[in-house]
Subunit: 209 residues, 2 copies
């Protein structure tokens, strides 16, 4: 694999994966890059160029085998790595993710959630136990989660991240709407900025002139 | 304004806006495109090129006035249009948005939320009333919301969208993780795909080779 694949390419891969997964579930066996591109609103050459960052796929003139390409893009994304994930903060958003989000489809096992509320600790949501924040150290040392979902209040967002980084967690799915930072080199923050998405919609519906 | 600004440019604008807003709140008065670019992880020329889709900004050699540029990008995004928005479906995610999301920062007024649950109807969350779905027609005809947040179950996602489109709603902030469609020309769906974001993180933390 080439080093330094651009951020833009990496951000497009999940959409390709999602679309191929959909085709696969519909029983589609083969698809051309032209058809793929037009469904995804990009050119066939863009699609081929993005894939070329990761190797050779498909066969000239024959299109792609949907199931194979889905598996290969999934593998590039690490879907086959069975990453461990925990949720820190079981407010409405944490609970919504526990109840509705299919972590397993993205290759993640949700092992536990953490909160400080005595009413929540000891209960389960969708089969996942909610543990006391005081148990975080012990749990992380034993289970080594790859990623923590941060759904804590902003006031404790950075300190919670720091605590987890100190325990060896390197991936953060950040829903706090705060920019978090770390001096530790291999820490990755993936921020979910709801506002960016709503502003994009705002642009599209705004009547001008 | 040029027609046909690319999707990629439009998707970058909210980040520029968010960053300028942050600088503005910190009291920063002026910034060069070099500094802006390096903070945002893009080149200065990319930044200037993106802006050039919408007109002339800044003054050669003097950088940008932060407050002005923030206002201008906000205006491009429609933040100054005071769009009306409603939430349809007050499950955990709908409730999380009502409690934590700053609709007003994005230029939206959240007028009401709708649900079918008798326990929820008639209550308020963060000062916003939850109305019965049966009142949707009446409410929409009177208040003409520009956007509906869809936080309903997947089984009713398309039918709820169709019902709202029939009432004249044209913008949808879609959290259902389903691709929704409409034959009506000016309908815009903005999908929030949590999975795409987690898969991007998965790519970044996956150890290879």
């Amino acid at each position: 694999m080439k080093k330094g694949v651009s951020d833009a390419v990496i951000r497009r891969l999940p959409r390709y994966y999602r679309y191929l997964d959909e085709l696969h579930n519909k029983g589609v066996v083969r698809i051309s890059s032209n058809t793929l591109g037009s469904r995804l609103g990009i050119t066939a050459s863009q699609f081929r160029q993005d894939l070329s960052c990761f190797g050779e796929f498909g066969q000239q003139g024959y299109g792609y085998n949907v199931s194979e390409l889905r598996r290969e893009i999934g593998s590039i994304l690490g879907v086959d790595h069975d990453h461990e994930i925990i949720i820190v903060g079981v407010g409405n958003l944490g609970r919504a993710l526990m109840q509705n989000f299919h972590f397993d489809d993205a290759g993640f096992s949700l092992g536990a959630a953490f909160d400080i509320s005595p009413e929540l600790v000891g209960t389960t949501v969708a089969g996942v136990p909610i543990l006391d924040m005081a148990e975080l150290e012990r749990y992380v040392r034993i289970n080594n989660p790859d990623v923590a979902v941060l759904t804590v209040p902003q006031s404790v967002a950075q300190s919670t991240a720091d605590r987890l980084i100190g325990l060896g967690v390197r991936g953060f799915w950040n829903f706090t709407n705060m920019e978090l930072t770390s001096e530790v080199e291999d820490v990755r923050f993936e921020d979910v900025h709801f506002a960016d998405s709503l502003l994009t919609l705002s642009y599209r519906i705004t009547k001008r002139g």
